[in-house]
Symmetry: C2
Subunit: 157 residues, 2 copies
């Protein structure tokens, strides 16, 4: 029962990540420079933003160390087009794939108890008050966050 | 344990719905006519689309009969601006709130067994092959779908 609950949540994550892979995988450097709407974020920025946010999940979920902390400055701290892209499209795609593979592999090893542990961004006090602030909540939240930006990317035909 | 898993998933749904409420609740009829980007869907269309899709969740999750099947033609079957809006902004907001309240109330009564039952759009054969095609999967999928369109709406400041 518990295993099926967790497997369903992981299935939802995999589906969202695979849709992004299908959408962005075939695009080249130039195509990734397109903005999702006039004056809005580029596809490149959004993919790098998601890579950085997913990379942060590794310590938050207790899976391991970050793989690409160097992305935060350009893609989390600062808005698009303020800092020159520090990596190529092919390096970005590799980072995206590596980070997601590490998360998927990590959560597939979680026991039910692991899923219900607090994530590391919540204090002990807050977690005692609200035990739904667990790793599953963070995982679902980030899946929704990826969907949020996928919706923006989908505005480009 | 099981209750906490389900409560976490419901918490994720409530968070996404409440963010949409905060974003769209204060907007009037005219503001809801804005397109999320040039030539793209209006906020009104997207809110009605989400209302219709969520309304369909009621029978799919075995909660009950649909409340607003009349929205499908204008907001699921057809793209934006092909059919005149059959309802006012205030009626749409009421429908949106009523549908989400019915779903939230319904899923909060689910037992673990209920969550893991197949949803009604899957055949018995397919469900036997893949038991993650359950009500929880549909519920997470629709939460992601709402996030997808929320990302588009967020392009309007």
């Amino acid at each position: 029962m518990n295993e099926l609950f967790a497997a369903t949540a992981v299935g939802s994550w995999k589906l969202i990540v695979s849709r992004l892979d299908e959408r962005l995988g075939p695009l080249d450097e130039e195509q990734l420079q397109k903005q999702v709407a006039p004056g809005k974020n580029r596809l490149f920025y959004l993919l790098a933003h998601l890579t950085a946010v997913h990379d942060r999940m590794l310590p938050l979920l207790g899976i391991g160390e970050r793989l690409h902390p160097e992305l935060d400055d350009a893609y989390i701290t600062n808005p698009d087009r303020t800092i020159a892209d520090p990596l190529s499209a092919s390096d970005l795609k590799k980072a995206w794939n590596d980070v997601n593979a590490a998360i998927t592999s990590g959560v597939e090893k979680f026991s039910t108890e692991d899923w219900l542990k607090k994530h590391t961004a919540v204090s002990d006090e807050d977690f005692a008050k609200n035990p739904t602030r667990n790793r599953l909540a963070l995982f679902l939240n980030r899946t929704n966050h990826a969907s949020f930006h996928t919706g923006q990317m989908a505005l480009i035909k």
